[in-house]
Symmetry: C2
Subunit: 239 residues, 2 copies
């Protein structure tokens, strides 16, 4: 059985302007690999409605599951929920369950539940809430799209609660070998190996250290036996 | 005059599998912002021909300039040059100028110029070479697409030689103010500010530190006078 396919949509001018270095993509990529879900594409778009809606439509149609990050806070540029609702053809308004969550959170802390904070209770019809153990304002799942916060610790917490609901395939295993030769010498034997093991993914990641060239060869696959066989061949090639 | 628009295409299974944390996107975003070029979209795709070609076509049509990162080495999964050529409708083969560069480099170091290394001399017709001061194998510019290496120090060196050829707009200026209040309290005044300064981009980036909520409000724009006026209003709002 093929692994489920996934895409990620990062929403945020702060990434595109270089103000912030993305952390959520890196985190998601690692968790999905462990879970046996293939992350096939990531897009980063700005806080513009057309950009967000277009990307949600394209990714939601092309992959089994989509994760979004960012744009669900209380400020004027937090438009992700409304954009996802439009892209998926769902009506959206303040929803009672989300409103109640936020109301009790703010009441218990003596914080005013104002109009800006009420924005965070806008949830599309038919969506399931995603728990936010850090600051309560929920994410949501609508169809195959999981809408999550951009703040890394909240993103990670939301992902942890969503991941078990996704039926992953077999986890991707990987092994690597450091080869102290230039990539140009590794390339031909590696192409042969790749041809003999079409079920494995074989990558070559060059580095330069103290003036010498080398590369890490990484072999990935779901079958431990095949992986070991390929690694054994690789070790013979580059003893 | 509006700033030129740009997109980036990162090619590499190693990013999507979580093995490597992207560095080139972060670097490019910062350099483009300084240069007055608006980075509008980033896509990360795997080492698959259809994925690369589709993304090159879409981004090259939608933005003034496109930067690609990765997939131009000598190994079997380095298919970027051929994919970009096909996407842009250009023939591709080993080109004499690139072959000569590589041949002299390898000859001077006593390294065999084998078939795998010859792959790096495949350059589309009509493309201009991009200098690689680190390991010689060149990138290239074809139409509005700049094809560069994925290894960060080579990517950075190639970008440095390409950037001056792109006529940037006015650099984007930014100023920020740390506000020690929850984002929900900052939101309403900030929406007012954004409405009064539609020419500026106003972002709010929440954080939580020692249990207290706060946010960095960042205002970006090309006109220093307008930026200062907006910052002054912001400081009045949150003294």
């Amino acid at each position: 059985m093929a692994n489920p396919t996934a895409a990620m949509l990062v929403i945020g001018d702060e990434i595109l302007s270089g103000r912030t270095r993305d952390a959520n993509m890196y985190h998601l990529a690692q968790r999905l690999t462990e879970a046996g879900v293939d992350l096939c594409e990531v897009r980063v778009v700005s806080d513009k409605a057309e950009a967000i809606e277009g990307a949600v439509r394209a990714l939601s149609a092309a992959y089994d599951v989509v994760f979004t990050s960012g744009g669900i806070g209380p400020t004027h540029d937090d438009i992700t929920a409304d954009c996802v609702a439009r892209a998926m053809g769902a009506p959206i308004d303040v929803r009672e369950d989300a409103r109640a969550l936020l109301a009790s959170h703010y009441a218990s802390r003596g914080i005013e539940f104002n109009a800006a904070r009420m924005r965070m209770a806008r949830i599309p019809e038919g969506a399931t809430l995603i728990d936010n153990p850090v600051s309560v304002a929920p994410g949501f799942t609508l169809g195959n799209v999981h809408v999550m916060a951009g703040v890394p610790d909240i993103f990670e917490a939301m992902l942890a609660s969503v991941l078990p609901t996704i039926t992953g395939g077999r986890p991707l295993l990987s092994q690597s070998l450091r080869v102290d030769r230039g990539e140009g010498e590794i390339a031909a034997p590696l192409a042969e190996l790749a041809a003999d093991f079409p079920d494995l993914s074989i990558g070559c990641y060059p580095f330069q250290r103290d003036g010498a060239f080398g590369a890490n060869v990484v072999i990935r696959g779901q079958d431990a036996g095949r992986l070991h066989a390929a690694m054994a061949r690789l070790s013979e090639m580059f003893p």
